[in-house]
């Protein structure tokens, strides 16, 4: 088990992502951040605070639970639903930025796109992730990446955030060579 990002590196990655989101969308007025629970929602909240610091104006943000849209529901016991909170004005005509912690097979994001489709019709959907570990199983890519980490499929990447885990760090587990 080794640490691949520490608290300072996570913070700097999120700050850079915040700037990139602003650059791509020409400011924050049409941006709506949607974090995928649990840790994606916390990261989305942090990005919201960072963008508001930079832009000095409020940013729309919410959470999107994708459980009901997963393609592997029938392979496991039923999962507990997490909160979905869409800001009052809805997502129509917004630039929605999905936020998740680890980007892996792409199946979570596919489910999220289905969920978004039920909620409304945004002008665009973008994806921000803290870690991209590769091994995509679907043709989906991220727009904003904190760090690309080449991994083997038998390894696991764990994101710890202070709100839940008491510490900010990203760990990689199961690597035999190190």
């Amino acid at each position: 088990m080794s640490v691949i990002l520490n608290a300072g590196e996570i913070s700097r990655a999120l700050r850079r992502i915040s700037h990139e989101i602003l650059e791509k969308n020409h400011g924050s007025s049409e941006v709506l951040l949607l974090g995928i629970p649990t840790r994606g929602a916390l990261l989305s909240q942090r990005i919201k605070v960072l963008i508001e610091e930079i832009e000095k104006s409020p940013v729309l943000a919410g959470t999107l639970d994708i459980t009901m849209y997963r393609d592997d529901l029938r392979m496991r016991p039923p999962r507990t639903l997490m909160p979905t909170e869409i800001p009052g004005g809805g997502i129509d005509e917004k630039h929605v930025v999905l936020v998740d912690d680890v980007f892996y097979s792409g199946r979570t994001i596919r489910a999220a796109l289905d969920a978004i489709n039920e909620v409304g019709r945004p002008r665009s959907v973008q994806l921000a992730v803290l870690i991209d570990r590769g091994h995509r199983e679907l043709p989906i890519r991220a727009d904003f990446v904190g760090k690309n980490i080449p991994t083997a499929k038998d390894e696991s990447v764990r994101v710890h955030l202070t709100e839940i885990d008491g510490v900010d760090e990203v760990l990689i587990e199961g690597r035999t060579s190190s």
Binding site: M68, M75, P78, T84
Partner: protein, 321 residues
């Protein structure tokens, strides 16, 4: 969890999980999402041997919002009225690939019978069996109480609920006593002695005979329907006398705390167990109970059918051969 037959099958954590899931589903339903793909390809059968409109359409709405296919099988005009046995019906439903059967039957224990025998592999949900249990009604009542008085979170510790009227014939009362006590609430049964079942002492609820004395003490009052269709004997002298002693009216409602809520599982006999003006008062949550029923039944269907089921496991092992 494979079946939902009795509140006794649920731990406190199971019950809270059903309520918490229902909270998320009800918030989503208000939030423009009207339909989820979650149960696409699952078949849910409404098997109703007894007439019931609201429970059947509530289950039907819940299943449809989760994209399940719904087959309604009611006793009238079907093979059931031609004397087909429960076993043959079950074998038929199994052959049609039912993933869940929602059963309403006049015989206490019918749902258990359907689940215990190995006639079919799908889940069984008890939608009311005789005078025994009606677990989803109790869950939606607990959901309604928790939403109104506990802001959708935690259990019901510290709350006091009166269940008033025809306890003897009421499966709603029995399921509610079990569930509300499991969630930490205190339950007071109020009824004439003739409408209390034998052995009610063992339910763990207080029994009182004066509605007027109980009303100031409680946070919720649940009026039960007087089930005239189940009454072969005379249980009270006249309807007027019953109404005078055990009916809820505006004068009695003045005895309630301002925050207390008035509930009724429906259908109501307006003027008998509840007056029209108290049913329509601002403390009444009777219409909310109906709306909450759909969310709670969606939650139950999701938790029973949303993940891997015994049927999936059998199908995949067969497919692997």
């Amino acid at each position: 969890m494979k079946n939902l037959l009795s509140i006794n099958d649920l731990s406190k954590d199971d019950a809270l999980e059903i309520l918490d899931t229902a909270v998320e589903l009800s918030r989503l339903s208000e939030n423009t999402v009207r339909k989820f793909p979650t149960l696409r390809g699952r078949t849910v059968v409404n098997l109703f041997f007894e007439d019931s409109t609201r429970t059947r359409i509530s289950f039907e709405a819940a299943a449809k919002r989760l994209s399940a296919d719904v087959i309604n099988f009611s006793a009238k005009g079907s093979s059931l009225s031609k004397g087909e046995s429960l076993k043959d019906t079950a074998l038929t439903l199994q052959a049609m690939g039912a993933d869940a059967v929602i059963i309403r039957h006049s015989a206490s224990g019918a749902a258990h019978q359907l689940a215990r025998q190995e006639w079919m592999k799908g889940s069984v949900i008890n939608a009311g069996d005789g005078t025994h249990e009606h677990p989803t009604q109790a869950l939606l009542d607990a959901f309604t109480i928790r939403r109104r008085l506990r802001a959708d979170s935690g259990d019901l510790t510290g709350l006091s609920v009166a269940i008033v009227g025809d306890v003897l014939h009421s499966r709603v009362a029995r399921s509610n006593v079990l569930l509300l006590q499991k969630l930490g609430a205190e339950v007071i049964l109020v009824a004439p002695p003739t409408l209390l079942p034998v052995g009610v002492d063992s339910w763990g609820a207080q029994v009182r005979y004066s509605l007027d004395d109980v009303l100031p003490l409680v946070d919720a009052v649940m009026m039960l329907r007087v089930q005239r269709e189940r009454m072969e004997d005379l249980f009270f002298p006249t309807e007027r006398e019953y109404s005078r002693n055990f009916g809820l009216n505006l004068e009695r409602m003045n005895r309630l705390k301002n925050t207390a809520i008035v509930m009724h599982p429906g259908p109501m006999n307006r003027g008998l167990e509840i007056s029209a003006d108290s049913a329509d008062s601002h403390q009444s949550v009777i219409v909310e109970q109906v709306a909450n029923g759909v969310s709670v039944r969606m939650s139950v269907l999701y938790l029973l059918l949303g993940g891997a089921t015994a049927r999936d496991l059998n199908l995949s092992s067969a497919g692997g051969m």
